[in-house]
Symmetry: C2
Subunit: 201 residues, 2 copies
DNA sequence: TTCAAAACCGAACGTTCGTGCTTTTTCGTT
DNA sequence: AACGAAAAAGCACGAACGTTCGGTTTTGAA
């Protein structure tokens, strides 16, 4: 054992971390459009003007890249959807804020590759493994937050309310992305308002 | 031009048609699990103990195979979900029957590869082309049937009702497939009952 | 300024992909 | 029984896949 201690962990600071962040940012975009299986190391490297092997070395396997991509997408989701709602009081009004920021997130332009979670959770429906587990954990945590807020709002059946909110925003995403039906956003807003209107207080 | 007329069109009768049907049946299963892009000619041929080239000759391109697979899936969907509800009177009770047969279809065992339409419609969110068009047309037609029945049932806003029904069954599918949450079926049934309970008559 | 570690590259691997061409087998009709 | 079309197989191709490896550049601390 060397006497000298490591000052930093590899990949935490320095140039490598910046590259890794750039890779994952682009990976989320690509995976939103092509899926986590369609996410290709060669394509990713070409987009970022890196070599395949140089990019590959950051993760060691495609599976690790996929899992890291799921983590990055979860972080982006928190920043875009959860955080903006954090300054409204917990309960019904925060649920309303989350729903609004989620719809805004979906509607944030067709430039973005669509909802990462809609694509990937359908993709890993029947594909067991660590990647699926990572996706499922992230979605479960998102649904759990909905449920927690529903409980704080005094909902009679928080799990049911969370499920319905989840279904309605996912449905809007699906209708908009596949068929360009923007009316779905309006229907979703109405459904959310109705679901939250039943709450006490 | 030959004087003799063709007695049958190729692929309509005879051995070829049977093979083609077997291919498409398996293709729907595979695509439900792996997606329409993950659907591979080599894998399909190996499963059916055919040669790649022999199978390929039936379609001429992978894209044609994908489109034919979408058509076969639509046929299966009609048989499993629409047809069982055809002997109940149009309107609210048929909507109820469709909802029930759809949930039963989703719940028909984890052996099946999950809902074809959930997987593929998410997959082709942001992937323009004939395959996406075929998927979108099928989903639109399914949603249109919901809307038609909602109108016959006297719904105030048939499009909105159709959307909510669609979202709730898709959401149940997603929750069950990804996280094995069977409660979603119950929540979906309750939501359907509530949505249809608002109907006049 | 030195030097080891970190970051990155280029080339190659074995495999699988979709797709052509050519040949053989199967099968209904005469 | 023989013929011709349909069906399936055999073989090969270029490209892209994930991955490995040896070498080169870049970086940051001593």
């Amino acid at each position: 054992m060397s006497v000298e201690t490591r000052t930093v962990e590899p990949g935490e600071r320095g140039k490598g971390a910046a590259t890794r962040a750039a890779i994952l940012s682009r990976a989320v975009d690509l995976a939103s459009a092509e899926g986590l299986e369609g996410l290709t190391i060669g394509r990713l490297a070409a987009d970022l003007e890196l070599s395949k092997s140089g990019l590959f070395a950051h993760f060691g396997s495609k599976q690790e890249l996929q899992i890291a991509t799921v983590g990055e997408a979860a972080k982006q989701f928190r920043v875009a959807v959860i955080d903006p709602a954090m300054d409204t009081p917990e309960g019904a009004s925060r649920l309303r804020a989350i729903g609004e920021s989620y719809l805004a997130y979906l509607d944030s332009g067709p430039n973005s590759g669509g909802c990462f979670w809609g694509s990937t959770s359908a993709e890993y429906d029947d594909r067991p493994g660590p990647v699926r587990d990572a996706v499922a954990a992230a979605v479960d945590s998102w649904l759990g937050e909905l449920e927690r807020q529903a409980r704080l709002a005094g909902a009679a059946e928080p799990e049911r309310l969370a499920f319905e909110l989840f279904a309605v925003v996912m449905g809007a995403n699906s209708r908009y992305r596949l068929s360009g039906d923007r009316r779905a956003f309006g229907y979703a807003r109405e459904a959310i308002a109705r679901l939250l209107g039943e709450l006490p207080g």
